[in-house]
Amino acid sequence: MNVIETKGLTKVYSSSFKKNKIQALVDFNLNVERGVIFGLLGPNGAGKTTLVKLLLGITFPTAGSATIIEKDISDYKIKEKVGYLPENHKYPSYLKGGEVLKFFGKLSGMNGVNLDKRIDELLELVKLSQWKKTKVKAYSKGMMQRLGLAQALINDPDLIFLDEPTDGVDPIGRKEIRDILIELKNRSKTIFLNSHLLSEVELITDRVGILNKGKLLREGTVKEFTEKKEEYKLVVDSTDTEPGNFAYTKQPDGSYLVKVADIAELNRIIDDFRSKGILLREIVPLKSTLEEMFISLINESERNNK
């Protein structure tokens, strides 16, 4: 089941006198399945936040259509099953942490003992229990972010949109947020994550989309993005014997980098090592980082646009 489906979603912003038009999103097609963590990556101004705002009815599409949880995005009632943490969220400064959650819980249709219980659970989850009765104006950036996450989860949503959820959070807090997201995924929740922190996205997402200038450049699993199919690192026991007649690069640590055409060639190389009595300790398929892939894709897109 697709929790998010967009078809030709387009958003064009016009200036007051309609002279300047900015294409924030162009013919955007995407399907996100239930129970996955989807990471949307892109440079500033790529259209990531616009997409989330369109899906949540905060902004209206110029063309195209979209559904979330199998209902059209124009139906505001679908948001009973949706949570959202915006990038620069603001809470009424006169409210205390617990009151903020109560307000958004009530707006999400919750009330009474269930809501109070949920608030306590969530404050415990984001480690803000002792700050429940403190006004949010006294909260640090990291605490606001954690409160924001609790707010996004208040109605136990099936689909959660998070825009830079770890912004301003310390490394321990980031790890805790990652753990929460993985736990949510294990409970079949779908998480749509906008982030600049590629290393973090790489750690937790199942699928990734790369967006630039409103266009989806590529979408796939993290593995598909990062695997270099024909490159391997062969780690061997220290030896003076050199392997045979094939191209390799010897690394300072004694390991070998090899490029092969297919798996058969890799096996021939392994046979060669063994025939010379070189003991293999490890065969590591080489990967590029998501960041390398991201930069390469964006640069390629920029070149094509010129």
């Binding site: 009815g57 905060i58 505001y76 949706v82 409210l95 707006l107």
Partner: protein, 273 residues
């Protein structure tokens, strides 16, 4: 409906967090205390000097109502002035980036959100006006042992006058996402335009000979909210028990309020954030 109540409740909370409403409640309390002291210090003969007491309750009624009006009229005007100032930012603050995103991500329609904000502002002013009017009425009524509950109906006329101006503030809040223009227009109508059109409508037709311009002034008169009449004639007639004598200022102001609110809702439902 529940969403409107929630938004209304939290708007009242927002208002209380701002000190202006508490300031006015304090001011009203002070006015009530001073009124109590003054009407109790002054003797009956001073208050009703020259009045033939044989005429009984009717005279007491008139004097009590007059005293109530003398105290309340300037204070309710001050109340509306302060209310315009302190409610003008409710909608713009709601529309701020980071705030509106969160609200619209919840299962609440834009119409409910805006109506909730409007009702919240109105409820706060209603509480303030009611506190002041009931307080002064109680002090004077106790002093004269004369309780005329019809006087309390002015709570509604004053709140209604504010509601009409507030609809304009909400409209310009949605259009500009700021509070300044709406506030300026509300003050302009309340302090200048409405009194000018109210007092000068008859005189204009004598001075200006052009039928076209007179018709234009007439149109203008009927379009602009009649806060002067609502706070003046309508309120006094209600206070002295005459009831609503002229429905025109109420109906035309009501039409203005619905038009302004309706257009605000239409624009809000179309707006990108």
């Amino acid at each position: 409906m529940n969403n409107i109540w929630i938004t209304t409740g939290y708007t009242v909370r927002e208002a209380l967090a701002r000190k202006v409403f508490l300031f006015f409640l304090g001011l009203s309390a002070l006015a009530i205390i001073i009124s109590a002291i003054v009407v109790n210090i002054i003797s009956d003969s001073t208050l009703m000097g020259g009045v033939d007491f044989k005429q009984g309750g009717i005279v007491v009624n008139e004097i009590a109502t007059s005293i109530e009006l003398i105290i309340i009229t300037p204070l309710t005007s001050l109340c509306v002035l302060l209310a315009i100032f302190s409610t003008a930012s409710f909608v713009p603050v709601m529309l701020e980036k980071g705030n509106i995103d969160l609200l619209l991500s919840k299962p609440i329609s834009r119409t409910q959100l805006l109506i909730g904000k409007f009702c919240g502002g109105l409820l706060v002013v209603l509480i303030n006006v009611a506190f002041l009017v009931i307080g002064v009425w109680a002090v004077v009524s106790l002093r004269f042992s004369y309780f005329d509950f019809t006087f309390l109906s002015i709570i509604l006329s004053v709140t209604f006058a504010f509601a009409v101006l507030y609809s304009l503030i909400v409209l310009f809040g949605v259009i500009t996402q700021g509070s300044v223009l709406g506030m300026m227009l509300a003050y302009f109508i309340f302090l200048i335009l409405s009194p000018l059109l109210y007092m000068g409508k008859e005189q204009f037709s004598v001075i200006i000979k052009s039928d076209f311009i007179n018709s234009l002034i007439d149109v203008f008169y009927y379009i602009i909210p009649k806060t002067s009449e609502l706070m003046g004639e309508t309120t006094i007639n209600l206070a002295i028990g005459k009831g609503i004598v002229d429905t025109q200022p109420i109906l035309t102001s009501l039409a203005f309020m619905f038009a302004a609110l309706g257009y605000s809702i239409y624009l809000f439902n179309k707006k990108d954030f």
